[in-house]
Symmetry: C2
DNA sequence: TATATATAATTGCTATAGCATCTAATTGCA
DNA sequence: TGCAATTAGATGCTATAGCAATTATATATA
């Protein structure tokens, strides 16, 4: 029994490598892969709470706070007060954020295509399905 | 097209969740999941260089240096000078490291079993194969 | 053999991950 | 209504990820 038989290890290794590749391609634009994922999610559902956003990107609320700090510093996102709850801020993608998103989108697509080259569309669908399953199984047993 | 269609996102999300679950189970033993992976790999091939070890765990050499610092602090690993190259140190698992490894092994197996529950052995094999493919594809295109 | 080049490991830096804790605001219930 | 419990977000802390630069040693080549 080797480390290479551990699904946990294999998933994280694949994740590190594909993120590293994406990070290299994103580097000229000074946007990290995680900032990208938050920006992308936010573009799909603007104006949700940070807590909700954290859930939607599968990240800790603490991290989302800090990633939003970075995105706001770069003026890709703005936080506006939530009129219904004065504890809460709602993040929105700015014009510039939208522009950067559209600029990076094809780069991300390329990297995904390269990382999955040689994998048929059926296998790709299977891979996604199994990853979601692992995510859900883990989430279910997590003490959150 | 949503973030949820991105293999990169899905892999990293699954990786975060399963690591988080494993981290919760490892917490009482004060060993992190990444320390675990280095310890496990080192147990398979003692006495290789840190550079080689880094490659074998799919991590940056810098990180391996620091993870080894942690493992050495906990006396689970010792670094001995490489007699053939005075720039180099060779890490070895200690008795205590071996003991801790054997203690954590069944916990890791449990977590993997839980995270993959409902996935048949054929699909599991497929998942591993596809993850290795993604890793290799990404590695190939990385500027290292 | 002298010197330039390359290499192993470390250190410094920024960003992410996640836990515990804090503050301010909201909700629940006596 | 009034106060306790809960919640949203932020902050502090440690560990990991990866890049750039540093130090010490090895290797290659003029």
């Amino acid at each position: 029994m080797s480390l290479d038989d551990s699904i946990g290890f294999l998933i994280n290794q694949a994740g590190r490598r594909i993120s590293q590749l994406l990070a290299q391609r994103f580097a000229p634009y000074e946007v990290t892969t995680e900032q990208w994922s938050v920006l992308a999610r936010l573009r799909e559902e603007d104006g949700i709470s940070q807590k909700e956003l954290a859930f939607r990107v599968g990240k800790d609320q603490t991290n989302v706070t800090r990633i939003l700090d970075q995105l706001e510093r770069k003026q890709l996102v703005v936080r506006r007060p939530n009129p219904d709850d004065r504890r809460s801020f709602l993040p929105y993608v700015t014009e510039e954020g939208n522009r950067v998103y559209l600029l990076l989108l094809p780069i991300e697509k390329d990297v995904v295509a390269e990382a999955t080259s040689g994998i048929g569309s059926e296998d790709l669908a299977k891979l996604k399905e199994l990853l979601v399953r692992v995510t859900d199984n883990s989430l279910q047993r997590l003490n959150l």
